[in-house]
Amino acid sequence: MPPLQLTDAEWQAVALSLRVALVSVAGSLPLGVATAWLLARRQFPGKLLLDGLVHLPLVVPPVVVGYGLLVLLGRRGPIGAWLYSELGITLIFTWKGAALASAVMGFPLMVRAIRLSLEAVDRKLEAAARTLGAGPFDTFFSITLPLALPGLLAGSVLAFARGLGEFGATIIFVGNIPGETRTIPIAIYTATQEPGGDLAALRLSIIALLLSLIALVASELLARRMDRRMRG
């Protein structure tokens, strides 16, 4: 077998990583938009606290975040026990748990980008929409959101790339189960721990690099297209 050809197990890790990162972005985007909107547009008591909470994963060691998730969402954790008994959902040691860990870690990046783009939307356009008969929700979905689309895209790509690279919180929360929670970074870690795993680590690292690069280039191209549309 040529040295740069991925093995089935490695392909599995790549596919899993993509799935985890995509699900984490798709799942957290609505909450990300809502949070960004609250922070960009609303004044309320505890706003500073919310802002701090959202940004916490940026500064706290990822393993601490993972441990926090484990405590809260483990089978015996306050939320985890309820999820299991009421809804039959288990997050710990599953790929869904990995997606959640990656969503939490990428959340600050996502919210930041969306918030900036929401703040840049001209409020006067929203006022104009209101005078033309659009209610607040209508205005948000027909004016605000389309105008903030570049920010949504940027935030999603950042969170996606962050998700592809997530390691610390994931390994603490969901472990290292081949095919279930062994994403690319964890597979690389595993490979480096095994004798003769250097080449496998190299292959996976190249793949990780390529995936991130593709995500960034694709988002840049999309952003340019959107920009062209707005400029006519």
Binding site: L125, A127, L132, G133, I143, R229
Partner: protein, 372 residues
């Protein structure tokens, strides 16, 4: 009919407004920046809540502080055109035009899409993006967008202020058409006296948050107290006149007004048309005897009613020539001529000083003329 009583305090600024606008015609809101025009407009549109008062439009209550009624902007049916146009950059022209249309009540008739597109001459722009439009085109689209939302009132908030003179001249005829062809009350906000004289029937002067004067445009702008507000260069009188005939040889129009006859550069109107024209004080000079061998075509006998001292070298002389006329002369000339109140003089008005921007048709007739 628009019926407004509203008060609003913003920091140190206090706005108090009370006025009525009949079912059709153009009411101008005139005032310098900071006079409260935008505050008033936003309260009408539902973008700013008055502290107290009551606003109703065509029998619908929009706001009543006591009854705790405050209709949100989207339910007020007031079509707004803002200074910056505020077109939606992510939609093309058609999308912009239809934005309000799609959200308007279905049962009611409004202006047809084709009719508005034709009225504003924007058919060739429908596929364009706002970023590719000139300032004048943007404002036409913004007007069309507001009209297509089936408004009960059109609110034009300094729609020409951001445009250069050439673009203004391009848009003004369209707004005149709206006034003449659509049965819709219009509130026109401006700080430019010439726009108001050309477009509006009635005017409301705002100063420091209060209504300083209101009424017929010619009456209000003719008042001595208004001269200062209108501005040094624009001070003068508004005359109501009837177009008698055209002099095709010299391309002039003959008008009659209570003070006599006037010759002005040919205007595009039929004989019999009622016109309103602005005669700036600085374009009027005075003589004690009827002058001969001068180039000035209009010499009108008048009486000096009052001499208003102004800052600097000139005085403003208020004349009675059947209609009020204002003349601006130097204080020295006033002294040399020995001008005193009650004196008989001749006012001389250069015909060429009355340009296209100074002449307007009188407001719409009171007949409801709906399109279609």
């Amino acid at each position: 009919m628009l019926d407004v009583t509203a008060e609003k305090r913003l920091g140190e600024f206090q706005l108090t407004a009370k006025f009525l606008l009949p079912a059709a015609g153009v009411l101008a809101l005139f005032g310098r920046s900071g006079a409260g025009k935008t505050t008033l407009v936003n309260m009408l549109a539902g973008l700013l809540r008055p502290d107290s008062g009551r606003i109703s439009l065509a029998g619908h209550l929009l706001f009543d502080a006591q009854a705790r009624v405050d209709l949100p902007a989207e339910r007020r049916r007031i079509g707004c055109v803002f200074q910056e146009g505020r077109l939606f950059p992510h939609l093309d022209v058609r999308g912009n035009l239809l934005y309000g249309r799609r959200r308007s009540p279905t049962g009611e008739t409004g202006f047809g899409f084709e009719a508005i597109v034709e009225l504003l001459g924007i058919g060739h722009l429908l596929q364009r993006r706002p970023a590719n439009l000139s300032g004048g085109e943007k404002q036409r689209i913004a007007i069309g967008r507001a009209l297509l939302s089936k408004p009960r009132l059109l609110l034009l908030d300094e729609p020409l202020a951001a445009l250069d003179a050439e673009r203004k001249a391009e848009i003004l005829p369209f707004i005149e058409k709206l006034r003449d062809e659509l049965w819709l009350p219009i509130v026109y906000v401006s700080h430019d006296a010439s726009e108001i004289i050309r477009l509006a029937d009635r005017v409301l002067i705002l100063e420091g948050g209060r209504i300083a004067a209101s009424g017929d445009v010619a009456e209000v702008f003719g008042q001595p107290a208004m001269q200062r507000l209108v501005g040094e260069q624009d001070a003068g009188a508004i005359l109501s006149a009837r177009l008698e005939s055209h002099d095709e040889v010299y391309s002039l129009s003959r008008l009659s007004f209570p003070g006599g006859r006037l010759l002005i550069p040919r205007v595009a109107a039929e004989p019999g048309a009622e016109l309103r024209l602005r005669v700036r004080a600085r374009d009027v000079s005075l003589a004690l005897v009827a002058p001969a061998h001068v180039s000035i075509l209009n010499v009108i006998p008048a009486k000096v009613r009052k001499i208003h001292a102004a800052e600097g070298a000139h005085v403003d002389v208020e004349l009675d020539a059947g209609s009020p006329i204002w003349a601006r002369v130097t204080a020295r000339s006033a002294h040399d001529l020995g001008l005193v109140e009650g004196m008989a003089v001749y006012a001389m008005i250069k015909a060429v000083s009355i340009d296209r921007q100074s002449v307007a048709r009188q407001g719409v007739s009171e007949d409801p003329r709906r399109p279609n």
